[in-house]
């Protein structure tokens, strides 16, 4: 049984839920919005969220973009710092070349030539059993086949220049006759090219230049010892020298002129002064120059002799002819003197090899291990620096992507705004 209140309540409730007036239109809008539902499922959901839930959608987009950019930044190779690879080729070469035993302990001569190619790459490495070094300087000994053997332990490519090896293979070399059984004191005695001397056929004249870099804790001591290696009796001398710095910074340089026959011995002695860092040798073959000079010299001397003879036999010749002959004789003599001078200079260069000695201080004694706290601080400091550097790189990459793709970003934003405007317009309709 209903009370008046219940009836009134019922009436109010029915009023609150009474049918809406007007023709139904909402179904049309729904139908329109769901047209092409299969195509727009994901897209319409995204746009719906973008329009009605901007904050979560924006947050999602920002997170996605940030993650992508961070991934790009990490993967970009230019981000990583390129490290200079130590390219001390000489040190590398030296560390790969013959070990101590071959350099220091074996007696006899040792001749090793390693050169860099034009690109600076290590071109060759040869490890030989030391053999007698044959001075290429001329001697009076008869021609003899040079007994040299080489064992090539490793070959890094390029070419190995060994003048002596080539000489051996190409033809005859010459063995100097040592006075004490070793070739160190080979008969490189006199420089070739003395006036009137005629070098034997097949003789090679090579100007040798060597460079050796030594590392030692006592630079000054090594500097003095190197100077005392020379034997003035052989015409050896110090062409120039310098020393500077103190203790750890000490560096010394000197240019030694040593007899060609003693080149290997001096080099061996220099190696004993410290740790050899680099060493190389070059040889300039001036044989043809000398041969040519001597040939021209002989020719001029012959002409001079003929002119002198002519002068002696034609004393009654007209004065004019005599004067002409004397003038010619003078010119010939001038040329002879010039050629003799050149020959002598070449001879000196051949007879006295050049060694450039570089001495520098060795590495300081190892520092005691840092305490744990110091090591920790160093690690943190390094990590901080690396982290900041990486952050800078990432930010730089982000800036690069943003600025580099600015045109595309603008186009993308324009497209998004156009689509959004169209969607809103459709929703309003």
């Amino acid at each position: 049984m209903t009370t008046p209140v219940d009836t009134h309540i019922e009436s109010i409730l029915r009023d609150m839920t009474a049918d809406a007036k007007g023709a139904p239109q909402l179904w049309r809008r729904a139908l329109r919005s769901t047209t092409d539902a299969s195509k727009r499922t994901l897209w319409s959901s995204f746009m719906h969220n973008l329009l009605h839930r901007p904050l979560p959608t924006a947050a999602m987009l920002i997170i996605a973009f940030s993650a992508t950019i961070a991934a790009i930044g990490v993967s970009m190779p230019s981000l990583s710092r390129s490290r200079a690879i130590p390219t001390d080729k000489r040190a590398q070469i030296n560390s790969m070349t013959v070990g101590d035993s071959a350099f220091r302990h074996d007696e006899g001569l040792y001749n090793l030539l390693i050169e860099n190619d034009e690109s600076g790459k290590f071109v060759g490495q040869a490890k030989r059993t030391p053999r007698e070094f044959v001075s290429p300087s001329t001697t009076d000994t008869p021609d003899a086949a040079v007994d040299l053997s080489y064992s090539l332990d490793s070959y890094a490519g390029g070419s190995i220049h060994d003048e002596q090896h080539q000489n051996t293979l190409a033809g005859r070399g010459r063995r100097a006759t040592p006075s004490d059984g070793t070739a160190d004191s080979s008969a490189h005695s006199h420089p070739t090219g003395l006036p009137g001397s005629t070098p034997p056929t097949g003789e090679r004249h090579v100007i040798r230049r060597a460079t050796i870099e030594i590392k030692t804790t006592d630079v000054r001591g090594a500097f003095l010892k190197a100077q005392h290696l020379l034997e003035t009796g052989h015409g050896e001398y110090v062409q120039d020298s310098s020393i500077r710095g103190e203790v750890e910074d000490a560096r010394a340089e000197m240019t030694l002129r040593v007899a060609a026959g003693r080149l290997s011995a001096v080099l061996n002695a220099l190696r004993e002064l410290g740790d050899v860092q680099t060493e190389y040798m070059t040889g300039e073959d001036v044989t043809m120059q000398i041969v040519d000079l001597e040939a021209r010299l002989r020719n001029e001397q012959r002409v001079e002799a003929e002119v002198l003879k002519l002068l002696e036999t034609r004393q009654d010749a007209p004065l004019e002819e005599v004067l002409k002959l004397r003038q010619s004789l003078g010119e010939i003599r001038t040329r002879i003197e010039q050629m003799l001078g050149q020959r002598e200079q070449l001879g000196r260069l051949v007879s006295l090899s050049t060694i450039l000695v570089l001495i520098r201080a060795g590495d300081p004694p190892p520092v005691e291990a840092d305490s744990l706290w110091t090591a920790f601080c160093d690690s943190m400091s390094s990590a901080w620096r690396n982290g900041v550097a990486f952050l800078g790189d990432v930010i730089a990459a982000i800036v690069r992507v943003l600025i580099g793709g600015l045109v595309f970003w603008i186009a993308l934003i324009a497209v998004i705004f156009a689509i959004r405007r169209r969607v809103l317009r459709n929703a309003a309709k």
């Binding site: 219940d6 309540i9 109010i12 609150m16 839920t17 049918d19 809406a20 139904p24």
Partner: protein, 184 residues
């Protein structure tokens, strides 16, 4: 010629005939819209959004309707769920939006009991209804909605009829108590 059943119309729509959907809308959109207004405390805009979203779901999932419950029940169930979602989302705005006097006006304002009891009493009842919790309020509106029987309301709420009636009884008691308190 008998009018086609709701299920027939839906099937025709699934087959591609949009006019069938229009017929369904002619039948059910006005009462659903009225119910949505009541459930959303008179907010007409929210009610329209809720019913439009209801039709969107009907269009998308029409092919999944299996006929276990009547189409009417199915439609109202979707509408009620949409109203709940929107009410939850706009709870603050729905509470601050006082019931629009015009939206609660009866379709027939010339009922003698309204003029007899007075607008003040009607307003008290409306306020008391609005102060009820959502569940009780929903039960009351559904059960007294002219478009639904108790059985259909129970189907829309997915409740047994007995449960629906007991909850209705509890909601009415709560409303009466509220009115008594206000009278005091």
């Amino acid at each position: 010629m008998d009018a086609p059943s709701d299920e027939t119309l839906l099937k025709r729509f699934v087959d591609g005939r949009n006019a069938a959907l229009g017929e369904l809308a002619r039948r059910y959109e006005p009462p659903m819209l009225g119910l949505a207004r009541g459930l959303l405390r008179g907010n007409d805009d929210l009610a329209r959004d809720a019913i439009q979203e209801t039709w969107v779901r009907v269009i998308r999932f029409a092919h999944t309707f299996n006929g276990n419950a009547g189409l009417k029940t199915w439609l109202y169930r979707i509408a009620i769920n949409q109203c709940r979602d929107l009410a939850a989302m706009h709870k603050k705005h729905a509470a601050s939006d006082l019931a629009d006097e015009s939206s609660h006006e009866s379709a027939s304002n010339d009922k003698p009991e309204h003029s007899a009891i007075g607008r003040e009493r009607s307003e008290q009842i409306r306020i008391a209804i609005d102060t009820l919790d959502d569940a009780k309020r929903e039960i009351l509106l559904l059960c007294y909605h002219e478009g639904l029987t108790h059985k259909e309301a129970a189907g829309a709420l997915e409740l047994p009829v007995g449960t629906l009636k007991s909850r209705l009884h509890a909601a009415l008691n709560a409303l009466r108590e509220q009115l008594d308190r206000e009278a005091i």
